[in-house]
């Protein structure tokens, strides 16, 4: 098994872990963490799968670079929305 495939498999597990977390967790901050874990899993699948034969593939790498920046913007917006939730529902 190549390293790329190994990381793609890890990405699949992280994706499933994050998905389960989003459904099961109660606290909104934890759901934001789970959403980020899910995103990291998708990124690992994208790059790992493209590089399963070894050798770097710049196309998925550039896309993941874009994705990381979008993920932090989404997280910041989610955290700002979280702050606006009423006190009794953190």
């Amino acid at each position: 098994m190549s390293a790329g495939l190994l990381y793609a498999l890890a990405g699949v597990l992280l994706f499933a872990l994050g998905l389960g977390g989003i459904v099961l967790l109660r606290h909104a901050l934890r759901r934001i963490l789970a959403f980020n874990v899910m995103g990291s899993g998708a990124f690992l699948v994208l790059v790992g799968l493209a590089q399963r034969d070894g050798g770097a593939d710049p196309v998925p790498q550039a896309m993941v670079l874009t994705g990381i920046v979008v993920a932090v913007a989404a997280t910041a917006l989610a955290l700002a929305l979280l702050r606006r939730l009423p006190e009794d529902r953190p």
């Binding site: 390293a3 389960g20 934890r30 874990v37 699948v45 799968l49 493209a50 670079l65 920046v69 997280t75």
Partner: protein
């Protein structure tokens, strides 16, 4: 030996992600998530993706971590002792356990199906790395990831900057939060001195990363992230106040990178497709766009943290 290292790294990734979601203490969960981000940066380095590793360390672990810790400080005032929170697990009655079990089962089945699909995939018929390599000479830069980001798939990057701007506008629309502001204790004089020493070096490094992006790992994203980190450091050392409402100059800085990018795209529409550079001018145009993006991305990413960071409680 290499596979052993990768295997250990994957196990550490899975463990830190699991603990970040399942740890009963919210503060520990956030710290473990930052650890997870740093491990992801290592994984990217192992996958021959130094560009992503740089961005993940600065943005995924650094900036996201700062945002999460800031949010945590507002949720739990007086962060010395962890405040009681709603339990991470649903109540341990029979229906709750059955629900948890069935969700875990579905997630496990999904993971198994996806993993099976990974092994069944046919070999790709289009070899993208070779196509990128074949067109490098016409791209205006020497680094393949920069060529993809700003030339071959420049429209992805254009839209991504638009998404960032929209997220920032969303933050502005929400306005100052009603939550408790983080207690602004007197800044540590050591932190102040360190920030004064480090920030000029960080700005210099950002300039280097921007320039290096044409030839080796680096570019506008990493440089912008570094600028944002410098701004956050200045704010934490109380040398830079939070932004209550961006003035005209700041607004121009926030939108400037996107406007330059859009202007170049509009000027080149006559070439027949979106963002098709004439090969002779490609290098200069990409440097112009990247310079604008570095400033704007730095301001936007810093704004995600600094907007309303010191907001007063609103009645």
């Amino acid at each position: 030996m290499n596979l052993l290292l990768d295997g250990l790294l994957v196990l550490a990734l899975l463990w830190s992600a699991w603990r970040a979601l399942a740890s009963p203490d919210l503060a520990r969960a956030v710290v473990l998530f930052i650890v997870f981000g740093l491990l992801m940066a290592l994984a990217w380095a192992r996958l021959n993706a130094p560009d992503i590793a740089l961005a993940e360390a600065a943005i995924g672990a650094g900036l996201t971590g700062a945002l999460l810790l800031d949010a945590l400080g507002r949720l739990q005032p007086g962060t010395g002792a962890p405040a009681p929170e709603s339990p991470a697990q649903p109540p341990a009655n029979r229906a709750g356990r059955r629900w948890t079990g069935s969700v875990a089962l579905v997630a496990g089945l999904l993971a198994a199906a996806l993993a099976y699909a990974l092994f069944q995939l046919p070999a790709p018929t289009v070899r993208l790395p070779e196509q990128v390599a074949a067109n490098m000479a016409a791209s205006g830069v020497d680094h393949p990831v920069t060529a993809v980001l700003l030339n071959f798939r420049g429209y992805d990057t254009l839209l991504e900057v638009a998404v960032l701007l929209i997220a920032l506008i969303g933050l502005l629309t929400l306005g100052p939060a009603a939550g408790r502001p983080a207690a602004p204790g007197p800044a540590n004089p050591l932190l102040k001195a360190l920030a004064r020493l480090l920030v000029p070096l960080m700005i210099l490094s950002a300039g280097y990363l921007l320039w290096a992006g044409a030839h080796r790992p680096g570019g506008a994203f990493q440089a912008g992230a570094l600028l944002a980190a410098a701004a956050v450091l200045l704010h934490l050392a109380q040398l830079l106040p939070a932004w209550a409402s961006p003035g005209r100059l700041l607004r121009l800085g926030l939108a400037g990178g996107f406007l330059i990018f859009l202007g170049v795209a509009a000027a080149l529409l006559a070439e027949g497709a979106l963002l098709t550079y004439p090969p002779a001018q490609a290098g200069g145009l990409i440097l112009l766009i990247e310079a604008g993006l570095t400033v704007s991305l730095g301001l936007i990413l810093a704004g995600l943290f600094l907007l309303f960071a010191g907001a007063e409680e609103r009645p």
